[in-house]
């Protein structure tokens, strides 16, 4: 998979926080940002020990500072603790990758309140809490980049995914509003909308479902976490200094 040229330190001197960094797209983003020279804080809820090991590994491999910040993005107190920890350790934050998310489907008529709470709690409320915490730290330095991870389903919708689509469409609204409000403080806010990406989330799909998805992709292949991480690294960097309020698809030309 094509990545940034070896030795590129595009993000040297920047501090970044990636939520949902224990696996999948979040882990790849954290790895890419560290490889590009950023100090990286990793958020995750499932495996605190594993998160700490990953943070230590990234620090050793890339010569950057890392923090492991276990906690549930749906828990406002846990989110608050993350930013207190970043403030205590680094005093600044340059990049937030608002990535943590859950994908749970249900047909209309079978959507429970519990499912709504889980999906919106993580994907929408969690994203808002993190954006607010990050913006507070970034405002001090009058600079920052926030990248919210939405989804092609939040842009186009998909059957069986009404709640997930709503939660990711809300992330787009959050992005557009925050980009306007935070621009005077030098903070850029963008969203990425991944398509069909090879992660644990899709490994359990039936072969016929996988084949149908593949047929919807113009470039004819499943996307990788690296495809998404490369776009996020660009948006986090000063190369994107004049880019804000955008929702950028990374979907290989997928049609839903």
């Amino acid at each position: 998979m094509i990545g940034w040229p070896a030795g590129t330190r595009l993000l040297a001197g920047k501090t970044a926080f990636v939520t949902g960094a224990s696996r999948g797209i979040g882990l790849e983003v954290a790895t890419t940002l560290a490889a590009l020279g950023a100090d990286v804080a990793l958020g995750g809820v499932r495996d605190p020990d594993g998160l700490a090991r990953t943070a230590a590994d990234l620090a050793a491999r890339h010569g950057v500072r890392t923090l492991a910040l276990p906690g549930d993005v749906a828990d406002p107190a846990a989110v608050k603790a993350c930013y207190q920890a970043i403030f205590k350790a680094w005093k600044q934050l340059d990049v937030l990758v608002n990535n943590a998310g859950v994908l749970e489907g249900a047909l209309i008529g079978m959507i429970s309140d519990e499912l709504i709470d889980r999906v919106l709690g993580t994907n929408t409320r969690g994203a808002i809490h993190h954006l607010q915490g990050a913006a507070r730290l970034m405002a001090r330095a009058k600079r920052g980049a926030i990248i919210n991870v939405s989804s092609i389903i939040g842009v186009r919708g998909d059957e069986g995914q009404a709640v997930y689509a709503a939660s990711k469409a809300a992330v787009i609204g959050l992005t557009l509003a925050a980009a306007k409000e935070l621009a005077p403080q030098g903070i850029r806010v963008n969203a990425v909308a991944p398509g069909y990406i090879e992660t644990d989330m899709i490994k359990g799909l039936a072969p016929e479902v996988h084949a149908r998805r593949l047929a919807q992709i113009g470039l004819g292949r499943v996307g990788t976490a690296t495809d998404v991480a490369n776009l996020i690294a660009f948006l986090a960097s000063d190369l994107a200094a004049y880019v804000t309020g955008q929702v950028i698809g990374v979907d290989g030309g997928m049609r839903l």
Partner: protein
């Protein structure tokens, strides 16, 4: 006036762009034109930088006057 309180008053003057004739100790949120919602976030940022602390969101929302600001900053261990 203690040194920390001078620092707090200086933060108010800087963030709200107040003249020397303004009595900072009597200020309330939206009580003067300069202290609006946008300036409030600048004020919070200036206070945080001055005292090297990070306020909780509840405290940001609850900072409704200079007196309240003193009370909040004290909570973070500053001897005002």
């Amino acid at each position: 006036m203690t040194e920390p309180e001078q620092k707090l008053q200086a933060a108010f003057r800087e963030a709200l762009d107040l003249g020397a004739d303004v009595d900072v100790a009597t200020l309330t949120y939206r009580g003067i034109a300069q202290w609006d919602s946008v300036a409030h976030m600048q004020l919070v940022s200036t206070i945080e930088t001055a005292f090297d602390l990070m306020l909780d969101t509840d405290d940001v929302i609850g900072m409704s006057s200079y007196d309240k600001a003193k009370e909040i900053v004290r909570k973070y261990g500053v001897a005002l």
